[in-house]
Symmetry: C2
Subunit: 517 residues, 2 copies
């Protein structure tokens, strides 16, 4: 068999079942191999950023990597932003990047560029396949590298002649690095700090935002009075009915500093010490308050759930946590705003939903409004590279075909990878997309205000405004085969959400809301 077939069979043997693909000529042998291996599902994407974002969503929901299929350096370039987000989410992803034939690179043909340098900026692991015989082995190692704790992007560069040459052999799976067990004395030291009853907070991140870890953290908080926080942009936060309430650290430094004010012990469980998203003149970059001791209970590569379980055993052995109860909002009426839209979503979110949140400023009220919703997962913009939501939803929906996906999109962000809607339609994915159409880059409007710029100044009018003309997301969605509607009141949004949740397949709702800034 040729190298391409060996790679495809190795992926399957290593547990990779999906390939989000945007191939070109140099990938056609692998495309043919995909067609010969029906167990390896090829999902067509009209842009590489859709493929990489989908792989991120898939990996977050399954803990296993999907493959991407990308066309040389420019294809990888188009996929970089969402790979950046995947890197920040510690998502397992395996990129397959086709390259020119090994003997052709010397000619500096038009598509030649430094793929290795590009790949290194987003990958924890990069390797080139040298020949068909060893390509399978490289791919097996890539899957293990991607999957090893805490998870990372692994990139395989597959030259065209390696793909087409005979002598390929599928390789057996390679065991990934397991998460590390946190030493007893580390857990004991944190327990001692919490027993002082000095003001403390536990900052959850990485895999410690999942059910088992959350339940342990909830008991610790109840027994010691420590506050429960999680990182600003968790990769996958389990929430809703029966789970302890966790407050996300604020996006703006001022907000996060207020949340951490007075904390004497900050316990990190899978999270890093908090830093501000951007620097601002006169504000600190490190957000840990002065005089606060930082305790690393578990790094992102550690078994944070296990460490929290041990800690709970030490400090909260007899604690039973009352089942928290948050009210669900009633379906709202009247004007459609970011706040009433959040209430509609809180009122209607279905059991087991996967929420992909790229609502940005329009999402301000979502955490509160959905705290009483049935169990759900919340996926966020981990790396700040916008254009993530619609692709992430593709991957989440393919990972969990029996769960509804709710994709919450800011209008500006949606336009970066809008062609993902076609994949929503092509694959018949059960995704309800709500586009918050406030017709501006409102987050930049907010930042301009912080800089003291006038709200109606030329900077804002020329480069932050998304009207003149307004984007018609109903037309855009229908142009890609996704049924769509526009909501201009809270009642309309409620009716349209109910319908979208009730029907299988993709839907898009353009929710006209005023910009907050």
């Amino acid at each position: 068999m040729n190298g391409a077939h060996a790679v495809a069979r190795t992926l399957l043997a290593s547990g990779v079942e999906v390939c989000f693909a945007n191939p070109g000529t140099s990938e056609l042998h692998f495309v043919t191999a995909l067609a010969d291996e029906p167990a390896l599902r090829g999902v067509p994407c009209l842009f590489e950023g859709v493929a990489t974002g989908a792989a991120d969503g898939y990996g977050r929901m399954t803990g296993r990597p999907a493959a991407t299929l990308l066309h040389l350096g420019p294809g990888l370039g188009n996929g970089l932003a969402n790979l950046h987000n995947a890197r920040r989410a510690a998502t397992p992803v395996v990129n397959l990047i086709g390259d020119h034939a090994t003997f052709h690179k010397q000619y500096d043909a038009p598509l030649e560029s430094d793929i290795d340098a590009l790949a290194a900026t987003v990958s924890g692991w990069v390797r080139r396949c040298d020949d068909a015989a060893t390509a399978g082995g490289v791919v097996a190692e890539a899957v293990a590298a991607a999957t090893g704790a805490p998870g990372q992007v692994a990139t395989v560069i597959l030259p065209a002649d390696v793909a087409w040459s005979d002598g390929g052999e599928p390789a057996p799976p390679v065991l990934p690095r397991p998460s590390a067990t946190v030493p007893e004395q580390t857990v004991a030291a944190v327990a001692a700090a919490l027993r002082t009853r000095e003001p403390a907070a536990i900052l959850l991140g990485g895999a410690a935002t999942r059910e088992t870890a959350l339940r342990a953290a909830g008991r610790i908080a109840a027994a010691t009075g420590a506050r429960l926080l999680c990182e600003t942009f968790p990769a996958r936060l389990e929430r809703g009915a029966g789970l302890p309430a966790v407050e996300r650290l604020g996006y703006l430094a001022e907000g996060a500093m207020a949340q951490l004010d007075g904390v004497r012990h900050l316990v990190l469980a899978g999270a890093r010490a908090p830093v501000s998203f951007f620097a601002h003149p006169g504000l600190p970059g490190l957000l840990t308050p002065e005089g606060c001791q930082v305790h690393v209970l578990a790094t992102p590569g550690d078994d944070g759930a296990d460490a929290l379980g041990h800690l709970a055993h030490l400090v909260a052995a007899d604690t039973t946590v009352p089942v928290p109860h948050a009210e669900r909002p009633l379906p709202p009426t009247g004007a459609l705003t970011a706040q009433s839209a959040a209430a509609a979503i809180g009122a209607l979110l279905p059991e087991g939903a996967i929420v992909v949140d790229e609502a940005n400023t329009s999402g301000l009220w979502l955490p509160g409004a959905t705290a009483g919703a049935p169990r759900h997962d919340w996926l966020t913009l981990t790396g700040g590279a916008i254009g993530q939501g619609l692709p992430l939803a593709v991957g989440a929906a393919i990972a969990c075909p029996d769960r509804p996906v709710l994709c919450l999109e800011a209008d500006g962000s949606a336009m970066y990878t809008i062609s993902a809607l076609w994949t929503h339609a092509r694959e018949g994915l059960d995704i309800t997309t709500v586009v918050f159409a406030n017709r501006s880059y409102a987050v930049l409007g907010m930042e301009l205000q912080r800089l003291g710029a006038p709200a109606d100044g030329r900077a804002r009018r020329d480069l932050l405004d998304l009207s003149r003309p307004c984007l018609d997301f109903v037309a855009l969605a229908e142009g890609m085969g996704v049924p769509a509607s526009r909501a201009t009141t809270a009642e309309e949004l409620t009716i349209q959400l109910r319908k979208a949740f009730a029907e299988p397949g993709p839907h898009l709702i353009e929710a006209l809301v005023p910009a907050l800034f």
Copy 2:
């Protein structure tokens, strides 16, 4: 003044008048500076690939760089593919990439990544601004680096605190490197080779595809019998009424080899020795025939027009070239196909049009059909990174507001940067876009055929097909404010083209054509 204002004023002083912008928080001080300098036109783009492609189009048409404004590593990542094309086109472009404040980088905040490594893959020149006082000087050097012969991408990384700090000073322009004059003996040696009357071809590239060079090359060809060819994907080929006909080298190795078959002297004027676009099993990468002597008359950094003028003086002093005449096709009737669409375009192309050609397989008949059209420029996909056309048209239209732009797009390629249509509408650009909707990645279908795969196989059905659902480009265009129509017959296309050319502002025509492969 702060660093951002110093940068803006330096750009203006160096002749940069346009900034294609997709800013984020770290660029807001520069956004404010732009608003304070109305002579520096900020053009909003909804995706960085639109901004970089627009800068490429602007630079190709003016010979002067536009600036881009991009947001950290992920923003640059989104713009890389079209910067790759600009690099291959040797287009002058100045990227301004905002970065975290210098003192903030240590914290590895979510948007932190290796901007320098990314920039190096597409830029001939990369520099970071260290402080406000020297930022102007860095930018003046960047403009000179971009503009120096033959032209290149220059990248300036502007940390947020450099932008916001006081002490900035605008810098005076720096003189760019001029093109080099080709030595007399080089020209004489080529003249001697051509005088042998052995079969010869002149391969034009870079700046030698412009009028002065073309006229000289035409005289040389007429006097010596040398064939006139140009590189497969010229950055800007001047064509039409009165200019010598130049044959573009074929995209497929088989075709280019047939064109060069028997050539004993290949004279390179601004072009590199031809290589095949992709390697194929059993085909050579270097396309120069065996026994053919390659003569470098002018490298891309040389003054090719001057060298061709000298060469014409030596070998064609008394030659007057008969004005070539090619017939314009009549407006076609009947079925709409790639061939009849080309005839409609050939029949109607307006005087002075700028044609942006990303028609891919559907463009097969365009060169022939437009050979008799009035004078026009033809801009092609220099680097093979698709998603270039709609953005390139933005830049060409802003560079030449008095000339009509015709953007010829393949449907698959159009979807990579489809949000460029919003900028067409926002800026009221006189761009007529024709989308050749063949509903497949036909170029890959052609390559699959070459590999011997069945035309209706699973590989093709699953990953190359763009139907299920069909993309509705009329809805997509209207959703972004561009008036649009669909042509299903040759007559309809003719009527719609006439109307689009007659009216100012943007239009889009979806031309339903069968796939050729």
